[in-house]
């Protein structure tokens, strides 16, 4: 398999799906003439034309709703929201409309819509440009939410999302766009939505992660191996539906778990993971599930403060050690 970047995997997949199905179209701000703020759609407008790759005014509520209505009539729009911070002005169309149309109308209309957007922070983008809201969408029945961590997963999940007949929120990460990995070229390679993957086998502790945090988890797992600590890494891949079975099976084997998330700690994704584990693997847990997450502040701009507020490898290592120190219950 050729090794390409996460960006390239997305760009390839969008191009292939545009070529495959005339009802697929891309829509968003600056995705055409500008080539995409983060160059995910580079070259696609010149290849497929302005009808298929549509530059929009700054009107997220308008064009997200427009894409939803177009999907109801059979188009398959793939919308780019420049970053997830800007999705708030469009969230009524997604949550009060797109997510409910199929169920609320008794199955009479389908909404084959994909909304791609990068979540999380990088550099010093500060409070309004560094947020994570995937937990908000994961909360909503009727939506499907995926968050690939590798170029391989990005391709497989984007294909599936575009071919899926429900609204899919496709979570990307600015910090992942330049990461590289093997990606199958096979035309019908897809990955299922709603299924997590054990990205690394381990026996001492389970680390649950998604998107960019999976990359950190894999690095930490490798580093700790030298110390003789065997870390199993579960990559959620999908946040809704959540694949609880894969998480629980892993924890039943390792008896310990840490979840790492880039979002704010309270009421974040990790809360659901920890709650689920204690519900379904209570008798297997030798220590409380630890959470590593973003510090709860509007992310400050200053480099040091910003760094101090984001979860990193060292935080994960510390949490793993805490979890391993938690002695076996029956020894207490």
């Amino acid at each position: 398999m050729p090794v390409i970047t996460y960006r390239q995997a997305l760009n390839d997949t969008l191009g292939e799906e545009l070529a495959r199905d005339p009802n697929v179209l891309l829509m968003g701000e600056e995705i055409g003439k500008f080539q995409g703020s983060y160059r995910i759609t580079e070259g696609l407008q010149s290849e497929f034309g302005k009808q298929r790759v549509v530059d929009t005014p700054i009107a997220e509520e308008g064009f997200v709703g427009l894409a939803t209505g177009a999907a109801m009539l059979g188009l398959r729009p793939v919308v780019e929201i420049m970053t997830i911070n800007f999705i708030l002005v469009a969230i009524d169309q997604i949550v009060n409309h797109a997510s409910k149309i199929h169920y609320m109308f008794g199955g009479q209309a389908r909404v084959p819509l994909v909304i791609r957007t990068p979540s999380g922070g990088v550099g010093q983008l500060a409070a309004t440009h560094s947020q994570s809201f995937e937990n908000w969408f994961a909360y909503c029945p009727g939506l499907k939410v995926v968050a690939p961590s590798t170029p391989y997963d990005a391709k497989g999940l984007l294909r599936t999302s575009i071919r899926d007949d429900d609204p899919v929120i496709f979570i990307e990460s600015l910090a992942l766009y330049d990461t590289k990995g093997e990606v199958p070229q096979d035309d019908d390679y897809t990955l299922p939505i709603g299924v997590a993957e054990v990205k690394r086998q381990g026996t001492d502790i389970t680390v649950v992660a998604y998107s960019r945090m999976t990359v950190i988890a894999m690095q930490v797992a490798q580093a700790l191996e030298k110390e003789g600590i065997s870390v199993e890494v579960v990559d959620l891949r999908s946040l809704r539906p959540l694949d609880r079975t894969t998480i629980i099976d892993s924890v039943k084997k390792t008896n310990r778990a840490v979840v790492i998330e880039e979002d704010w700690r309270s009421y974040g994704i990790g809360a659901e993971i920890a709650a689920t584990i204690q519900e379904e693997a209570f008798d297997y847990l030798d220590a409380p599930v630890q959470r590593v997450a973003g510090v709860e502040v509007p992310l400050p701009y200053a480099a040091k403060l910003s760094q101090a507020s984001k979860p990193g490898a060292q935080d994960l290592i510390n949490a793993i050690r805490r979890a391993l120190q938690g002695g076996k219950r029956w020894q207490k």
Partner: protein
Amino acid sequence: MTKATKAQQARAAENGRRDLASEDPEQLKHYYHQMLLLRVFEERTSEMYTKAKIGGYCHLNLGEEATIVGLMAALTPDDYIFTNYREHGYVIARGADPGAVMAELFGKETGVSKGRGGSMHLFDAAKHFMGGYAIVGGQLPLATGAAYALKYQGKPGVVVCQMGDATTNIGAWHESLNLAALWKLPALFFIVNNGYGMGTTVEEGSAEPELWKKGCAFQMHGERVDGTDVLAVRDATRRLRQRAEQEGEPAIMDVISFRFRGHSVIDADRYRDAEEVKRERARQDPVLLFAQKLTEAGIVDDAWLKETADRVKREVQEAIDFADKSPDPKIEELFDFMYATPVPNTPGRAEAAAIAEQIGGGR
């Protein structure tokens, strides 16, 4: 701008009442029958609500009958319709079975939305009725997108986006109309101007109270239409519909009518002067007005009117009986329609059955 405005004022005038000579009598009778059907359907709906056969929020079309029938008379089967939550009459006039509509209000499996939607969320895919939406302004981007799809796929037809007057003050209005004008989409923005958003008058909500003029910000044509005149609404819609379909010129229709009752069936309407409401209802009753016109023109007589009244009464009673006799949706099917494309780790029939069982244990 100047030119456009003049043209618009001319139109507004031209949209005055017409005489009936040129009309097919049978058509006119059909319009009357439909208007009366909506009138009686809504009166009985309000009765059913007080009898607790209907729950949730319920908004009636009383006073809006000519607007609805005139609009539908101008549309083709290719056209699509998106509305707000005050939509019972639109679905019926578009051709849905009144029984299936009443069944939806009753929350039955036989309802137009299978009992899942209720009064504010009616849908009939076969009739291209694309939904009642209960978030003010929510239907605007959706309807604009449907128009986008028609243009993209080169299909005939236009999309009618119905809304209330107060909806022109929310952001979605601005974004949707700008996109429709910018991309020349076959859309009609059809404002049912009943003078109020709940208790707020048009003047209290919109800095430009002449709503048909608000298209100026998008170089979009707009017209005012008498919503109590079924023919005025039909003809204006026909003209603008054709323009939208053939020239890709979307337009605003500002269709004036009077809201007979409170905002919803539970609104006591205390903020309006009872006397004035009574007066206006008499003065602007579309059904009454049309009956008089048809009688004066010798197209119908009292006997026919009586007979039509009886027929409508029967039809609505049948709708109620159908709704009454229809089965409730099964709890075992609670998760049906959750997703169009099946996906793992999602509850289904088994989980719903478990809930149903538990309910046995009382929930």
